[in-house]
Symmetry: C2
Subunit: 110 residues, 2 copies
Amino acid sequence: MPHRKVNIDRVFHALGDPTRRALVERLSEGPISVSRLAAPLAITLAAVVQHLQVLEKSGLVRTEKVGRIRTCRIETAGLSVVEQWIENRRSTWERRLDLLGVLLEEEPEK
Amino acid sequence: MPHRKVNIDRVFHALGDPTRRALVERLSEGPISVSRLAAPLAITLAAVVQHLQVLEKSGLVRTEKVGRIRTCRIETAGLSVVEQWIENRRSTWERRLDLLGVLLEEEPEK
């Protein structure tokens, strides 16, 4: 599956908006057309399309037009980049906490 | 550990900046004073303090002043909120893929 390099700044920026997160949440459940995606939302179709463009540029969503229907689906690349970054932070501080634990155990008893 | 409710919009926004991510990466390795945190960076101390304020407001960092030294440390609340959000998306789409797999297996053979 070819896709351009994901820019992590863009992914975090894209997910900082509650409407865009709601779109990603809906798309996690499966592909859907833009018009069906927009229907339950209290914003215009044009606004939804703009949010989708931000999501698409950040590697979080893919859209494909077949005939007159544009279908959107989740693109795992964007979320994976964020997941990996968080995971790396967690492993760094957990390793540090483990080390602290070992050091405390090694303290001579009084 | 008392802390105010984390705002996920703010956390994503805060992490969308490469300097702020670099600060969080350094703080994952352990607590450090603001001046030592700033020393290797090619930006002013004032800029570092501003970034730290954004990180503190979003629940990603805690700072504490003792005497004349302000020490910063990672606050896990912010990262956990993002981690949980991503994890929820992943479990939704993996459940869907599992279901698709079951449906495909149930297809009658030709």
